[in-house]
């Protein structure tokens, strides 16, 4: 099943199961969304449950807050990564705080789906990886799948979460990644890393579209006799701290791979976590292979910005030497 199809099937099955789910976003109805993730859903569930909204992200997320208060469970699609920014005020001040502000009485069981990442030859502001803004915000659960099975399983969990979930969908994977997806109901719990490959020399930690790079690097390293342990973070916030510490301890050498800029990012948090809690298990400096602290470049030169296999392999060489 395609990654995109896995997402669609999670939405479809949960909407069948749970009449409180309502989808809203720009162009998700008749057109099925610019990435075709909601295709067929309006025809199936009607225009009252799959709602085309005005071009107004704060309006979308803000009215989702109200929809939650009315007892519904809204699923917002924000069209591209950078178009989540107009909704940040709602997300930071209300979505993430309403449960807390009402001591649990008014939870916000909403999902905010955001296609993310580069490598798709897109115009400016269509290739950001903004997860850190959300991870820095207490009250949100931030998730990103890297396989079709996880796309379905994590999205299903998101759709059943009592807390607001920001769900990052690497747009590069939508129609390029195909994989097995278990039949029927499939839930992947939040807060559990996935071991994508076992190994003993170095631990590669990644998520989303960067898992492809991590696994390719692991392959390349294997040909040199270096054995990589590859860990998929999956839940970017709150982190599976135990799982991550264990993954680091397996080898004592860690490379973290991410697409976003580096400063105050998820990779920063992962490195900090290890520096606080796994220091005595580490054999070498931690390495971050990350997007640089520059805006995501024009697409003809975005390959310089996006971590690739060569950069990961180089980082591994350096910490093996270290």
């Amino acid at each position: 099943m395609l990654f995109a199809e896995a997402l669609t099937s999670a939405l479809r099955e949960e909407m069948e199961r749970n009449p409180k789910l309502i989808l809203l976003g720009e162009d998700i109805g008749r057109s099925g969304g610019v990435f075709r993730i909601t295709v067929g859903l309006q025809a199936r569930f009607g225009a009252e449950r799959v709602v085309d909204t005005p071009v107004a992200e704060a309006g979308i997320v803000g009215s989702a807050v109200g929809l939650c208060l009315s007892g519904l469970q809204p699923v917002c699609e924000l069209q591209f990564d950078a178009f989540s920014y107009p909704a940040l005020n709602q997300i930071l001040t209300h979505v993430s705080r309403y449960r807390w502000r009402t001591q649990g009485k008014a939870p916000m069981p909403m999902v905010i789906r955001i296609p993310c990442g580069g490598g798709v030859r897109a115009p400016e502001l269509h290739s950001d990886s903004p997860e850190a803004y959300f991870c820095h915000t207490p009250g949100l659960t931030v998730v990103s799948p890297s396989t079709p099975a996880d796309a379905k399983g994590l999205l299903t969990s998101a759709l059943r979460s009592p807390d607001p979930v920001v769900f990052f969908e690497p747009k590069k994977l939508y129609r390029h990644l195909r994989g097995e997806v278990p039949d029927g109901e499939h839930l992947v719990p939040f807060g559990k890393v996935r071991t994508a490959r076992e190994g003993s020399d170095v631990t590669l930690i990644a998520w989303g579209a960067m898992m492809e790079i991590a696994l390719a690097a692991a392959e390349a390293l294997a040909t040199e006799g270096v054995s990589s342990h590859v860990c998929d973070v999956r839940t970017l916030s709150p982190l599976d701290e135990e799982g991550l510490l264990q993954a680091a301890r397996v080898t004592g050498r860690v490379v973290i791979i991410q697409e976003s800029p580096r400063n105050c990012s998820v990779a920063s948090e992962l490195a900090a976590l290890l520096a606080e809690h796994a220091m005595y298990d580490l054999k070498a400096p931690i390495k971050r292979v990350s997007g640089f602290d520059v805006p995501h470049p024009y697409y003809s030169i975005e390959h310089h910005q996006r971590p690739d296999c060569a950069r990961v392999v180089d980082a591994v060489h350096r910490i093996l030497e270290a």
């Binding site: 005005p54 803000g62 009215s63 109200g66 009315s70 001591q103």
Partner: protein
């Protein structure tokens, strides 16, 4: 239109307002007024924090709330932090909030009141979404969002209002135009002739009422609610008054405006004006008015004592409710903090 500068010529009650209701409107206005006056004193004593006074806004707050059904929801801003009183919330509860005490929270579902929205206008989309959601679920609930003249400049007011129009949400946008946003006069807030002029941009009815006239507010909101319930969509109501007090305490209006207009506004304030009307109609006596005052003054004295008696909670509460279940990291952080605080013995 100028707010509050004339008593209505006759003292007849509008449709739907019987004498009991007329008096109840007054009683609630007095409650809010006394709350405000006492809260200011408590603030000056240092017994509560920042006080967002709404002295002079009683006609709007009470008129609007009483025009709603008990099943309708209101979405307050900071200026309406005491709106719960009108629905039976205890004043101690509100005062606890003013003391920065966690007991100041409320359950929106219990009171059918959204949480206080501190960022100006950011709750307008909530009210829009809520109203839309109620309609989707076949309920006849109406939502009313309070906000100020300054709030109309915010993008989120715009997005919420526009969305409500498109979704035909049963929403009332109740704008308290008190002519000031802290130090900024409304003519520096927008170049629109009236704030109600904004309604056409959302394809909704815009009306303007004298916000010092509780009966006018009551009537406008009643009509808007009826329209909303009839599926005719949202209404924008501009209630014109003049902010007779400081923005909040602390704030010193003498830095930015001269007091003549405020002075005038204080003379024409809504509670006294409505009392006059009721007295002319023979519905209210000086005695009854005094009785109300006594009643609420006593309530307030008890309430501040009650609020002050609340113990300051330990750290557990700071860690609770961000998520349905505390994360392992929060569990660890909390127990670390408890260990340190125990060692210190100072908390």
């Amino acid at each position: 239109m100028k707010p509050g500068n004339a008593d209505p010529a006759d003292a007849s009650l509008p449709e739907g307002v019987d004498e009991a209701l007329a008096l109840e409107l007054y009683r609630q206005m007095v409650f809010l007024r006394i709350f405000d006056e006492r809260a200011l004193v408590y603030h000056r004593h240092g017994r509560i924090g920042t006080w967002a006074i709404s002295w002079g806004h009683e006609a709007i707050q009470v008129g609007a709330m009483l025009a709603l059904k008990a099943s309708d929801w209101a979405f307050p801003s900071y200026r309406e932090n005491k709106l719960g009183l009108v629905r039976g919330m205890s004043p101690a509860h509100v005062l606890a909030g003013c003391r920065g005490h966690p007991q100041g929270w409320w359950d929106p579902h219990q009171w059918r009141l959204g949480a206080i929205s501190i960022p100006v206008a950011s709750h307008v989309p909530h009210a829009a979404g809520f109203a839309w959601g109620e309609r989707l679920q076949g309920r006849d609930t109406v939502a009313l969002s309070f906000f100020g003249d300054g709030a109309t400049s915010q993008g989120e007011f715009h997005e919420g209002a526009n969305m409500a129009g498109v979704m035909n949400a049963p929403l009332i946008l109740l704008c308290t135009n008190n002519q000031w946003a802290i130090s900024t006069p409304v003519h520096r807030q927008t170049r629109a002739r009236t704030l109600a002029d904004k309604a056409a941009g959302y394809g909704m009815l815009g009306v303007r009422v004298d916000g010092n006239d509780v009966l006018a507010v009551y009537q406008a909101v009643s009509q808007a609610a009826a329209r909303a319930r009839a599926g005719e969509g949202p209404t924008f109501i501009e209630c014109l008054i003049y902010r007779a007090q400081a923005h909040a305490f602390p704030d010193d209006p003498s830095a930015y405006r001269d007091d003549t207009e405020a002075e005038q506004a204080r003379r024409e304030e809504c509670v006294g004006r409505y009392a006059n009307l009721l007295m002319r109609r023979g519905l209210l006596t000086e005695e009854l008015a005094a009785r109300y005052r006594e009643e609420f003054l006593a309530k307030m004295a008890d309430a501040i004592a009650e609020a002050e008696a609340l113990p300051i909670p330990g750290p557990e509460l700071a860690f609770a409710h961000a998520y349905e279940r505390k994360t392992p990291a929060l569990e660890r952080d909390l127990s670390e903090l408890q260990r340190i605080q125990a060692k210190q013995g100072t908390r």
